[in-house]
Subunit: 156 residues, 6 copies
């Protein structure tokens, strides 16, 4: 049973929509025990405090360190780092997660909304991605037989 770390942004409507789409696809995947063994960072903010709603925590090193370390726990304790990846709204935080996950030997899967698939993505994300698929392909993605493939799109 494969487990998944969900790396995705939550700063725009498009990011939130893509996040929901990916969550839904994963929920129907037979190989993923989705609610029990996966890690969604927003569900693990330290003390359940979201800094976007409580800006007074934005300079609190206790909150910052704990939430940051929580995300690392998510990557460390799951098999796959799944990045919900939007070419024109690339997220530096997801970038950090990709570089970190790669070096721990995690499988890095980028999922791009269908309408954006093919658009240029950053070369560094491209290089550590083990596979880059369309959102609509996530539902039937074979998590039991993970393989390598290139992004069928361009880089910049």
């Amino acid at each position: 049973m494969t487990t998944v770390y969900f790396g995705s942004g939550w700063l725009s409507d498009k990011q939130n929509q893509a996040h929901r789409d990916a969550m839904q696809a994963i929920e129907t995947s037979p190989a993923i025990d989705d609610r029990l063994h996966s890690y969604v960072p927003l569900e693990h903010q330290y003390k359940d405090i979201r800094v976007d709603q409580h800006p007074e925590y934005a300079q609190d090193t206790e909150w910052s360190s704990a939430t940051f370390n929580g995300d690392l726990v998510g990557i460390k304790t799951t098999d796959i780092t799944l990045g919900v990846y939007i070419p024109e709204e690339e997220d530096v935080g997801l970038g950090v997660e990709i570089g970190y996950a790669h070096n721990l030997g995690k499988y890095v899967l980028l999922v791009i909304p269908d309408e954006d698939y093919g658009k240029p993505i950053n070369l560094m994300s491209w290089g550590f991605a083990d596979n880059v698929i369309k959102m609509s392909a996530l539902k039937s993605f074979d998590f039991d037989q993970l393989t390598y493939d290139y992004y069928a799109g361009s880089v910049y």
Copy 2:
């Protein structure tokens, strides 16, 4: 003698200006043998082809793999990964480099233009940064006695 990998964007005027400022500061640093032993990605594009000037290479896996691997060589063969970091124009590629550099045990130094210092940066970049300084402090930064410190600004 310390060597530096230069991670920075080149997609906006601001990024280019910050890159030049950082290069200049490094050139005057007594601890850095700057031209000889540092690595600036744009000087190492495969076959000296810049994809922004030759968009036909944007889907060429040979060019992409080589340029990507060249950047990894830069990080691997230098002591410090210096990220020229602009809070409101954060770069996903630099994010990947930060995550990768951290796991290899490189010292990660983020340099922020003075006028942007203090603005919120992504939590994941914050977490792997060993130090986050102002551009004006780079010139006299003590590369011989590397230390850890927090960003004197906020995260999001």
Copy 3:
């Protein structure tokens, strides 16, 4: 199903008691297939020779290397490195295991006897611990949803 490496000392009565308490708690944990998939170093001494009972092996590099490598196998092939941690009897060997486990991306869980919880622990153990809990909380610890938290005690 989560698997656990058991790092603990066996040099004092207190260490042995804490070890037994932790083993018992793990045995009742629904998420841990305890006897089958966990690794208890004392059960894997090379050739079943315990050096405390056979001091003639204390300078035998064959025995030492094999037993040492066996412990690394235990850490490598399990999901969690659980350290039975006694503040006033900290064990250097457990320290080595914590540092090693962290770098392989293992979740590091320290378990402290209830009566000692809160006492100062070494800063380096503190820094790599993903969570530090009371012995009495181990039984119901949620191994399916691993999270990060600070030690509710002090460091030295």
Copy 4:
């Protein structure tokens, strides 16, 4: 349920025979969900092209990079790197896989045909092997209780 990466050569009759023997042994092992969760490199050549049958791909960096990265995916996403190891036909590719797998914290198991067991093997393979067993012992090898042991043979 343990998963296995199959590292083995396919350049001689002996290598092919040993590969088939190992596959067969694994298929009957109760601890291995062999067809579903294991990775056999030859089944994952990029675009299903085998370079020995299509020598025109021998200088194609797209094919080479993808097939190479596919092998790394195999090692990363499985628990054990099993090397079918023939002392007098040692394979440099398997050597690379052993070194890589070790550093990611994978358990490295070398399996040697019974008639060759005991013959000298390279010191570097010896050093990263967590266990070296006879082909006939693979069938009943306890994948649920992985342990360390030396090669009962010599090195060169």
Copy 5:
């Protein structure tokens, strides 16, 4: 020019004496640029606050995280992790540093006071030590030609 991270305890007179002896030996070593490029943790406590003198910081996560990360910077940015190692006063913090340093590929050198050399040390420290020497041998230790050797003493 080799650089050194100084891992040592400061909790007993014996530890402090051994620390001073090692510092002195290093200062006279021609291969070590000792004051400029080495890292002594006690000189890098966050905000120059020593928690033994300011116990009110013992539960301050900001101070703890920064000091802990400072020690990691010390290990990351130097070539050798030198542990001043006292067999009967083994330090869990040094243990963590040894495990961490090993995995980053640092050379781990343990230095034991002459009068304690030969006494049993913990098996896990033994296993990651690249060399274990007497204090009196440190002065003339060849830092330019680092080699591997066993501890000429016993383990427990």
Copy 6:
């Protein structure tokens, strides 16, 4: 000043000749402090015993572990892992070193005798090589500006 680990075989005349050629080229390289800071495994066999001359050590775990760990010290404490690589006599031990060196973030340079350059090499060696050059190019190879490039030859 760059330091080099010399990975090469010594089992055939061709390997020995190539090794000598590479050593000679390195000795004249201005960027390499060759005798002082490089590591040649054959010069570091444990107790100066070569197992090819003393076959009674071929099953001695003390000798084997120490010599193996010595080679790892060589890779860890140098900047570049240089493999003297002979396409038709590929060495499994060098393979292990390449995989290990890659994961520690070392620059992997393969040097092939001129008359063999272009011949097929194993895909796994190809994949971790940062550069693959002709023996005649080693003398003037720019060790101060390490770059990535493909093998101008084929793989199998």
